[in-house]
């Protein structure tokens, strides 16, 4: 392995302009995250305090081992939905350490509409459990929710990946032997009651915790029975009589202490891979990343500058350096684990596509996890390239990537447009985790290109019917398209819709990937084998 040589000139005007731009974006990210995590109406905070409850993030901090990291996923989920009513999609998910074990934490946020589940809340919880399943991560649920948002029921109840998927995932985790603990701090109503019921262990707080399929209002409406929350599904009923809950706790602190003690009883999972060598911080300064990332989506940069600021000791073994140069491939160590990297230095051509496919196969042969660093505007198009089989070559890369049995991680470093997203392990391809940078944009094609294409299509259509193209209408079409694309291609939109697992400040990438990779290596790899490559 050789140390990446940086050719960045930190005093150049271009670097300084880019640095200021990206630093501001990172600052904006932190501000928006802080708001989503902590800004709540005083009324909601007071209500919790009057109930003797801790805030969800206080529960989280007391659950986790002190002095350990917490990789929070999708902090800004739902930031562009529901009129901003549901910061963080009313829940917190992430990977942390409890009693020395890696766990996935899911915590309801009762400071947002009583913790009611919005459609994106469910999507976020399902995603967290999918991550738990794929990475064999034990799960700790901190339950405190008013139940589903009834007005949005059609978006959160009936379909395959809606609410039921949470309980299906919980059952599967249990079948796989991956432990789950639920701590009931507040209400677990209707479907939510299944969260503690399907957890292998659960704890319930006396006085505030309650588990019932139907709450008192529903019960009264259905059968006329009048019963209090506690009598219907409180701590003593469930720990002494029904046996639905395992451990009673006098208060939230005791519940968390009991929960930690339960996790301390769980056997430690053997990892598929352990670090090959001790880790080493990169030699190149990650802070430079702010000056490396362009301030214009159409511009590229040398991905080796990113690799050199993520990899241990900034050391990188480049594979096939002279061929397919728009795709940088090679091996490095991340926190002591060997990984294979694929990173875009331009658009994908025939040679870069098949080089990528070949390298992916080598990593599978070598049992080396894959890391995709995306900055792709697409594959080369045009007659020459079609004749040379660019579609086939792109297909081979997608086939190799899709059929990989090693874990895959993806970071959207800049643009992710069109089919390039696919080959480079976009969301659809079951990467264990996928993160974006604040400058990231994603769409089937660039906004300008899309607007131009739509206008072109419209003009041809009008020509066929013999009508005249109205310039004003065309201009309106163009601007409407541009506006929609601008809104929907931003990283904030993407993270709002949970198309990624969170936006990262670029300097946090190494830590996030280290935690993600460590989690990924709890699961044994899949079955090796590829489909048919169209040669």
């Amino acid at each position: 392995m050789r140390t990446v040589q940086s050719s960045v000139r930190t005093s150049s005007p271009e670097f300084r302009r880019r640095y200021a731009h990206n630093k501001a974006l990172a600052q904006q990210l932190r501000t928006r995250q802080e708001a989503a995590r902590h800004e709540r109406a005083p009324r909601d905070l007071e209500r919790l305090a009057s109930q003797g409850k801790l805030l969800p993030r206080q529960r989280l901090e007391r659950l986790l081992d002190p002095g350990t990291p917490f990789l929070e996923l999708s902090t800004l989920a739902a930031n562009m939905s529901y009129g901003g009513e549901s910061p963080g999609a009313s829940c917190i998910t992430g990977i942390g350490i409890v009693c020395g074990r890696e766990v996935m934490v899911h915590a309801d946020d009762p400071t947002v509409k009583g913790g009611a589940w919005y459609p994106l809340t469910i999507k976020k919880i399902v995603r967290a459990l999918d991550v738990a399943i794929e990475n064999r991560l034990p799960v700790v649920h901190l339950c405190d929710s008013a139940g589903g948002q009834l007005q949005l029921q059609s978006q959160l109840f009936p379909d395959r990946y809606m609410a039921g998927r949470i309980f299906r995932n919980q059952s599967l985790l249990s079948k796989m032997g991956v432990r789950q603990l639920a701590i009931v701090f507040g209400h677990c109503t209707a479907g939510g009651a299944y969260v503690p019921a399907l957890s292998d262990y659960n704890v319930i707080v006396r006085g505030t915790g309650a588990v019932f399929l139907g709450g008192p209002p529903l019960v009264k409406a259905a059968t006329g029975e009048i019963v209090s929350v506690d009598e219907l599904g409180g701590c003593d009923l469930h720990t002494r009589i029904s046996g639905t809950c395992d451990y009673p706790a006098a208060d939230e602190d005791e519940a968390l202490a009991i929960g930690r003690d339960i996790v301390a009883q769980w056997e430690r999972q053997p990892k598929w891979r352990t670090p090959e060598q001790s880790s080493e911080a990169p030699l190149l300064d990650p802070d430079d990343l702010y000056g490396v990332i362009p301030d214009d989506i159409k511009q590229t940069f040398d991905m080796r500058e990113v690799i050199g600021r993520i990899a241990d000791g900034s050391r990188f073994h480049e594979y096939k350096p002279a061929y397919g140069t728009t795709l940088v491939c090679g091996f490095a160590h991340l926190w002591g684990y060997r990984i294979g990297l694929l990173a875009n230095n331009g658009i994908l051509f025939n040679d870069s596509a098949i080089k990528g496919a070949h390298f992916i196969e080598l990593c599978n042969q070598n049992n080396t996890p894959l890391l995709f660093l995306q900055n792709i505007t697409g594959y080369m198009i045009g007659r020459e390239y079609e004749a040379a089989g660019i579609t086939k070559d792109g297909a081979k890369m997608i086939m190799a990537q899709s059929c990989s049995h090693v874990p895959k991680l993806t970071v959207m470093c800049h643009g992710s447009f069109g089919a390039g997203n696919y080959g480079m392990c976009g969301r659809a391809f079951d990467g264990r985790l996928l993160f974006s940078w604040p400058n990231h944009q994603i769409a089937v094609m660039g906004g300008e290109q899309a607007a131009a294409t739509l206008v072109e299509v419209k003009v041809r259509q009008l020509q066929r019917t013999g009508a005249d193209a109205d310039p004003a209408a065309l201009r309106q079409l163009r601007e409407a398209t541009l506006k929609a694309y601008e809104e929907q291609t931003s990283a904030y939109y993407s993270t709002s819709e949970l198309w990624d697992d969170g936006i990262l400040d670029p300097v946090d990438t190494r830590n996030a990937l280290g935690i993600g990779l460590s989690a990924a290596l709890n699961a044994p790899p899949g079955v090796p084998g590829n489909g048919v490559f169209r040669f």
Binding site: T68, P69, L71, S279, W335, L504, D508, G514, I515
Partner: protein, 488 residues
């Protein structure tokens, strides 16, 4: 020579006596209550006899059982140690009546010296100075006498001793009430409500003289011990010789002790205790007709084994030396290690001996009756052991003792070890400026200094014994342990 001796005691003194018995080739028999079944004195003996009693201390006070045990074990003598039955005249009589030898004085002497009023009278008759006092007082007489002698006064129980049952009265207004309370207490604790009053000497020194008599009127003294450092009227640091004592005064005090013991035709070991006033006057306090806790310091400076002497005398062989044979050299200091919390007014503590490491050094002696794992309960006296040091000079002895306390490891129950070390370092102690209110006077100085770094290190050493803490500290995987407290 005695062939087989039963030791009617427990703890460190039982161990100490059994050690001399072994060295002398005499069989030792121990007695023990069920709670003491794993105690060291039981293991040190050649034979051990269990005693049955509901309360542990009652076992060692059960005269009938003890005598029966001695008979049954074929012992020809009983050594009572100190405390328990050692100054019980009735017991001494019963032992003799049972045809066994009581290692100590005869019952009559015990009875005489046990009655503090009679003892005081007897001493006065021998020309031994006694503190101005009044005996068998009627309240009216006492008030008049007190007015004449002056305050402060010390009211004592006639049947008391060893620092128990005493009250200080500082003015006339308190007198009647104090008398009433003292009498009631005396009745309750000693079964004898008689009290007497003495002039209370402020800042006195407590000087006592070890004597040995053969019962035929031959008595030697083994010089004096200073036992002024006391808390709750109990000695905790003793030494021999007494510092800053003129040869004349020494001779006078020791001479007075011998006079008293000779007049009583004293047999076996005893200690005559005096109060030495700042003006150089000394007064008889009481005589203890038994071996004392602090006897090791005398043994060090005279190179004698007092228990061996006791056994000799009990066997009828008389004294093994004359007064001119005894020439003290060097200096010895002892401190009593007790299960208590000095910072909480010396309240007795309980616990379990978790760890015991006794320093081995020349001129250092550890007399203990404890073993690792032993439970320390309120059932018995709180003294666990004695640490004694010898040196050519007082400063050398103090230094060796300090070092010994520093290296002594006795963990599992709070003790006064650190407190004793601070006492031994105190400049006034090192200057020999001792009196019975020393520990009260310098209480502030003797408080433990604040040592926050040390306390932090101790806290961390403690935390590291906890399995949960160790897991939390050392079993967090990588990369999380290196990343530390990071949030994205």
């Amino acid at each position: 020579m005695l062939r087989r001796v039963l030791v009617a005691n427990r703890g460190e003194i039982a161990c100490r006596i059994l050690r001399t018995l072994r060295a002398q080739g005499i069989a030792g028999v121990a007695v023990y209550h069920h709670e003491d079944r794993a105690a060291p004195h039981v293991r040190l003996a050649d034979a051990a006899v269990p005693l049955d009693a509901e309360v542990p201390t009652a076992a060692y006070l059960d005269q009938a059982q003890i005598i029966e045990a001695a008979r049954h074990a074929g012992a020809d003598a009983i050594h009572p140690g100190y405390g328990f039955l050692s100054e019980n005249a009735a017991f001494a009589e019963r032992v003799a009546n049972a045809g066994l030898i009581f290692v100590g004085p005869d019952a009559g002497t015990i009875r005489l010296m046990g009655d503090k009023i009679r003892a005081r009278e007897f001493a006065a008759e021998q020309g031994v100075p006694v503190a101005p006092g009044i005996l068998e007082a009627q309240p009216g007489q006492l008030a008049a006498w007190a007015a004449g002698v002056g305050f402060p006064l010390l009211i004592k129980a006639a049947a008391g001793g060893g620092g128990k049952g005493m009250r200080i009265v500082r003015n006339g207004a308190e007198l009647a009430e104090s008398l009433r309370v003292a009498a009631a207490e005396a009745e309750r604790y000693f079964g004898d409500g008689r009290v007497y009053a003495e002039r209370y000497i402020e800042q006195p020194r407590h000087i006592e003289v070890q004597v040995l008599g053969d019962g035929q009127g031959n008595v030697v003294h083994l010089f004096e011990r200073e036992c002024s450092l006391q808390r709750r009227y109990q000695k905790i640091v003793e030494e021999s010789p007494a510092p800053n004592l003129s040869p004349t005064l020494r001779a006078a005090i020791c001479g007075a002790a011998v006079r008293l013991a000779q007049a009583a035709r004293y047999r076996n070991a005893g200690t005559v205790e005096f109060v030495l006033a700042p003006d150089g006057q000394f007064y008889f306090l009481e005589m203890n007709t038994r071996l004392q806790v602090e006897h090791p310091v005398t043994e060090y400076v005279l190179n004698v084994d007092l228990v061996a002497e006791q056994l000799r005398i009990a066997a009828g062989a008389g004294l093994s030396f004359s007064q001119t044979d005894l020439a003290p050299r060097g200096h010895a200091i002892e401190c009593r290690i007790c299960a208590e919390e000095p910072e909480h007014d010396f309240r007795p503590a309980t616990g379990r001996i978790g760890l015991l490491r006794v320093p081995q050094a020349p001129n250092l002696r550890f007399d203990g009756g404890i073993s690792p794992g032993q439970a320390i309960t309120p059932a018995f006296d709180s003294m666990l052991a004695k640490l004694v040091a010898f040196g050519a000079t007082r400063a050398a002895a103090a230094s060796t003792l300090q070092q010994g306390l520093h290296e002594l490891v006795l963990l599992g129950v709070p003790t006064n070890i650190d407190y004793l070390a601070r006492v031994l370092r105190h400049p006034q102690f090192l200057a020999g400026q001792l009196h019975t209110a020393f520990l009260v006077q310098y209480a502030q100085d003797l408080l433990p200094p604040e040592a926050p770094e040390q306390a932090a290190a101790a806290t961390l050493a403690a935390l590291l014994t906890d399995a949960d803490f160790r897991h939390a500290a050392f079993d967090v995987p990588e990369p999380h342990a290196t990343i530390g407290a990071w949030r994205n």
